[in-house]
Symmetry: C3
Subunit: 204 residues, 3 copies
């Protein structure tokens, strides 16, 4: 299970890094811009989580492979982005896998250092979404997740299921598997049916 | 005094969270956007303070009621914002109470961990203003406090008075009371008389 | 060498703080805006570095002179910006000195706490560039370094040379001197010849 989570975690970083690099291509940045955006998008959520929880140094200082993945993907995308962009479809789905992984990893890390469950759920959501928030802010856009889409909600559902099942069964395997399925299904439904939360409407 | 400060602190968080949620209603975000903006605005300043001072984990990881207040107010505002917006007047004044509280709490926390007084004053200002800065940046706007208004200045005055009176008298009660009155009066004067610092003008 | 690095470090902070204050004058902010932008630009990079490395509290909490320099320069620029702006030329070159210093300081600090070399290089780049990133984000602009200019690249070269020469020779003096010359030359060439990295072009 640990190995599977590690593999999914790397996959999540890779997918988010790719989405950051694709954003850089939209903005016609230079190679450094690609590397920077890919890196902050890939590791930004987990970094904020570690900072807030007081885990130091943050995870990628000890595990350099995370930085390597982000930088390598940025370079690849820099040269092949014109191809990837016509295949954004599979990226959206891979991104859903990243989301489902990160909301579990984030909750896991929080519980490991002994936070209350409400904080663990928040850390799950934050790990899964905050990289994208930084990406959008750096590009001068209002973060996507603040607008309508079943995205953060899917992460929250995954984190909730993970925390709830774990405290009920103490089974790391079961809680991880269930949470992964729930988050992926919720996000997948959002993609497939274009679901979104109702947004605030002015009443006159 | 401790109980009073705690009550005011919660009030400050509540008021700032409400202002974040109101901003979300202006931008017509979804419910998640309301919760996120309310939370970062309510606890953002204190979070940055704790990070910079090396207090770990940050305050709301141990005291979950802060997150609860932010989330609850976001939901309330989502459903009643059309009413609140016609009553922004009392919000501005409640916000002034939050400002006056947070500049004291920020300085207090800094002195507790033994920082120099200049840093304590800065932490007071930061605690009182940074939540709003994050709120505005996430909404794609230049932070309000960078423009003209007696806001950060009121927080700076409050923090200065707190630190000065405390070092002169060693009385927590007296320094807190005086600082609160000064910060609230300065901010109140700014609101009532529409005072602002002079801004830079191009000279040709 | 330590004294020289300390002096250059202060110079770097001063130069970056000045660039933040000049930005505030462009945006016609008030005096508080000048102080805030000068401070985040001057110390933002080193602050993020310390946070990520788990150094607590961050450097300027113990060394208040850094805050003093930023605030003082903000006030000076507030009153003389109309003069400085016609002399931006020397500022660009002084900024290059700051860049060359900060990429070394950042790598040094990272190695001191035992990070892998890849992380040390990243910390060098981050220390040298992140203050400017925050400055631009607060002003509602896409960070300059994400666009085309030999800037972050110069910082990366300097950090690489520092780390490489240090591990080859163990000479702090030699590695610092070489890294400084390389970073300054790279940035200088970028300024003088208007060099920039190739940016991504859409292929149709």
């Amino acid at each position: 299970m640990d190995n599977l989570m590690y593999a999914l975690d790397l996959l999540g970083v890779a997918v988010f890094a790719t989405s950051g690099a694709l954003k850089a291509s939209q903005k016609q940045m230079d190679l450094f811009g690609f590397v920077l955006l890919a890196t902050v998008t890939g590791i930004g959520g987990g970094t904020l989580r570690d900072l807030l929880l007081g885990i130091r140094p943050v995870f990628w200082v000890a595990q350099v492979e995370y930085l390597g993945i982000c930088a390598a993907l940025a370079v690849v995308v820099f040269f092949v982005a014109h191809r990837l962009r016509s295949r954004q479809n599979w990226l959206v789905w891979a991104d859903a896998v990243g989301l489902a992984t990160f909301c579990i990893v984030g909750s896991q890390v929080a519980l490991t250092v002994g936070t209350p469950v409400a904080v663990a759920v928040l850390m799950g959501v934050m790990t899964a979404t905050f990289g994208g928030v930084i990406r959008d802010v750096l590009c001068g856009e209002i973060p996507l997740i603040l607008h309508r889409e079943v995205y953060a909600t899917a992460a929250a559902l995954g984190a909730l299921v993970y925390v709830a099942v774990l405290s009920a069964t103490s089974s790391e395997t079961l809680s991880t598997a269930l949470a992964f399925v729930v988050a992926l299904t919720a996000r997948g439904a959002g993609i497939a049916f274009k679901l979104s939360l109702p947004s605030y409407k002015k009443k006159n």
